[in-house]
Symmetry: D2
Subunit: 326 residues, 4 copies
């Protein structure tokens, strides 16, 4: 299936992905992972929540850890350009018959909670508490030295439908994997903020979160994290990598937190701000799209994901893929 | 002087800086520098011009070398979002009483040539020839492995006036240097594409180009370039660095081409896409704004620049600065 | 089996491993691999041989490619401290009933060809043609920027016997893998020149060469090589890595040349010059000794090796190992 | 003056430089610098001393900080191969009419204290307390991640005399700077352990310590240290660099501790174990020997050094050098 024409003038203006709320079972265990090992900075914590940001972020949070009984994802958040974009967003989702709700999220202004076409909970806000800059407080850098949240990757049972829906919101495809025989897309990477992606969709039982990702300065930071995890009891939390994706050209590492949520550590993709930036199409049969260097990903990487709280999933009608693009 | 309020809805939509035409005296000498040493890729060349692009760029050119008798800069180019933005730009500049002209530039579509408030020639276009992607043709990587053009830095005799003019075009200040006593700005960094800057203005005799800049993956690429230049006859073309700017947090190197045009090699700034991203103000007396690590820049770096062809320059009325921010 | 006491005063003084002669089927194909891709410098070539050196070496060759019908290894070379050490070496090997022969090797002085305890051909020399230093001719750096040959790794059917023999020659064990139940060693790393090893022995059918290794400056050079190989037709020549060995602490990559000879690219081991440097013992059951980060090596890596010309091999009496240390 | 012939069979066998005792005025201030900022590990501390080691060292100490009123250096230590080398060393120094004394140094075995030809206190030992390996305890890595002590650099008023004396002890010159007109050497780098140097001598008022040096894995660790020092109150302790020396080819940084002792952070020199390794001679007039990339060193770097406790200094009879090699 061909890609839809990019929607250069969407109904409302999303700037970028912003944050995610993950349900975890033990906040102390999760803090040891996300703050002390990965290197995110705690901006607020109490008995039920920990808020975290990365080193160059001035918004209050990019990850919220919420204590719960069963690990899952509550919501993924996106920042809009103007406050009126929130109202335009409400109109957009209502017109599609999707549920909308104005909610209160601490440290954020007016926040619209809604769902995408496959039922995945997403929220939009315009204002978040702004914190002092810490990107030059080098004494605070720790772990992998995460600079900023980079993207979300989701399993979708119908990637073409996901592309169509998110394209309508103004996300532009930068790379995609398609089946040369059927023309159907098996995966797509879509951006708002000018990199390879803010969101990606991969064929599989969904909606589920495949991973969230952080941007780091260089591959050496990823090597440092591997050495640290391997010698502090986290060796089995290393799932895949390091390696280079064909798609996105990124140097990557995938790790699993103690609750099984997957994080990608990511660097060196490229700038995509041109509206006439041409998508790169990868053939489903090209193994280098996943790992440019040829190493196969482990089975868990193709199958495991985090469900969204209370959201049922559907299987894809595409036959079980031998290889899923990153 | 306080900064003007960001213009979130400018009259026309500039995506990013795009290219520059440099006049050089000997194309073979310049090619040895820009292509064989710096690592830019030649996309077209004839007896009078060489067109170059960086490794992840798909547009036809980011640097045009034009043979001439006297080194100077002809024009700096910017890409707009939509073709109608060109007409809106014409209206914008005409309303300010600035000259506009529709010109033909090979490999570009309709192109508007005009001037900024200090007489600096700038051009806008919407379409440029798109070339095949080469960012994964690793055999072609060479020199410093330049990934993309990042910004232009100009000497301005009136930085506050430059800020006001470019702010009106939608450029947003990310960092600036001001004199705590007088409140006047001595330098400003302004972006469209979501990094620290597309353009910067530094107090001094102008308009002149202080430097153009390329983004590279890691500081090690800059070290490689230093080793290469130092052992292939270019040691005196190394002007300043390597170092870390306080402003922008970038790891930098400044080099001079055989015609004296300055190029910065640059990595590791940060994302600024949020419209409420707060500018960082540096005090004129803080030496770490220039070099976080404390080393002084050489005198040439404060004084030398490239004039624009046929454009007279004015001195700044601010007293000769002891230190100019990067 | 416990390790033998280090022999601090061996009968003759070996400085370091030096070179290897590999038989390859097509010199042009091999040159494309070893010189144009890996980045070794050609120091001499004719219709039957290519001599290569790495960037900081001043000796004439560290690899000799010899045209032949069947890929194999002819000999591994070692440099001795003093010319008289050659005569002492002859005495040493004769006393053990091993064959010795004075041979002529172009670009080397007097050269003693002999065998180790398992029949592996090795040669010793004192003088080799010395070439101009090129370590600061940065224009010549290419591929992975190999700095120097680092070590040889061999399959041995009796690792304890190999340790005993090479210990007698003054090689000192820095790390070893042993079976806690039987006490037998499954692998050992032994040095002369002050790093983790000049030679290593791994349990398996032997004598066979498991790999030769080159030292490179940083992990980023290894990443560069992976990108280059993956996009120039060598993706299937990438066998294992990148990763960090538990043993030796080295960052590694294993690649196979078109004739199947394995090369390790290696950086960041440690200094071992102290004669009282204590060997590190790894348990056969500890998977992190192979890959600190936990990823398994592919089956080929455990089984494939290069035979020595005309030298029959024996199977190990140790049961097929599930995992062989790196 | 030509170099003396290398002494391949010295009277006693020194393995490597080992440690230094620095007198500092405030142990807490020094600990903040050497342990918390530079990243050395404390192995013992009491009211008057702090003992430190680097990450891959198993010997008990490479730096001893001793509380005192006036910053100075007490002694530099070297490790010998065999205990009998200590007695041979005593004979060697006595034969030269130099004072020798058997002293007790905590955590070391039998220790010989003596002087070199210019009166500099040096000590030799064979056994030092061995500590557990920490090179894979990555959680402990901090600051610049110093791996091991690399060398000492001294001011000598008569470099040719220093070369002659240390050559007699078996140190081999790898690089030197000489005056083409007079033939006199202005600086020399001499090794035992197989790198560019264990000790170096630079023309100037001496004996004084110019600097001690630590080996780090990559230039990025040096950049990390610069960022850390620049933002934790140590910006004025950064004296010179980062840069590449022509001599030694090392990537370097020079920093000063709160008591003014200079430390070099150093990586990427080369292997020199071959006894026929040819010294590289640099002309005194070649500025690239100091900084390959051309930047000048600050005046303090040429003039400032640490005196040895109670040791008078002499001026060099060579005229004040405009440039001193690194």
């Amino acid at each position: 299936m061909a890609l839809p024409a990019p929607n250069l003038y969407p109904d409302f203006n999303i700037i970028r992905l912003s944050h995610i709320e993950l349900v975890v079972r033990d906040l102390a265990v999760s803090k040891a992972f996300y703050a002390d090992t990965l290197g995110l900075q705690v901006t607020f914590e109490d008995a039920t929540h920990i808020y975290l940001r990365a080193m160059e972020e001035r918004g209050h949070h990019c990850v919220i850890l919420k204590k719960g009984d069963e690990p899952c994802v509550n919501v993924c958040g996106f920042k809009v350009y103007d406050e009126e974009d929130l109202d335009r967003a409400e109109t957009f989702f209502k017109a599609k018959g999707l549920p909308t709700e104005w909610i209160t999220r601490p440290h954020q202004g007016r926040t619209l909670l809604t769902r995408d076409n496959m039922g995945m909970p997403i929220e939009f806000y315009h204002k978040m508490d702004r914190l002092d800059s810490i990107h030059q407080k080098y004494k605070l850098y720790n772990g992998v030295k995460p600079l900023r949240i980079d993207h979300f990757n989701y399993f979708s049972p119908d990637v073409d439908a996901s592309i169509a829906f998110w394209n309508d919101m103004g996300f532009r495809v930068t790379e995609h994997t398609s089946d040369a025989e059927t023309g159907r897309n098996w995966a797509a990477w879509m951006h708002r903020k000018g990199g390879v992606h803010d969101v990606a969709f991969t064929n599989g039982t969904g909606p589920r979160l495949h991973h969230l990702a952080f941007w780091v300065p260089t591959p050496l930071n990823i090597i440092d994290l591997l050495d640290l995890m391997a010698t502090t009891g986290y060796v089995t939390n290393i799932e895949r990598g390091p390696g280079r994706h064909g798609i996105s050209n990124a140097f990557f590492l995938y790790i699993l937190c103690p609750d099984g949520h997957r994080t990608e550590i990511y660097c060196s993709d490229y700038q995509t701000v041109d509206p006439d930036h041409e998508p790169i199409n990868w053939d489903l049969k090209d193994p280098q799209r996943q790992t440019l260097w040829g190493a196969a990903a482990p089975r868990s990487w193709f199958e495991h994901g985090s469900t969204f709280e209370g959201v049922p999933t559907s299987e894809s009608d595409l036959k079980a893929q031998p290889i899923i693009a990153p």
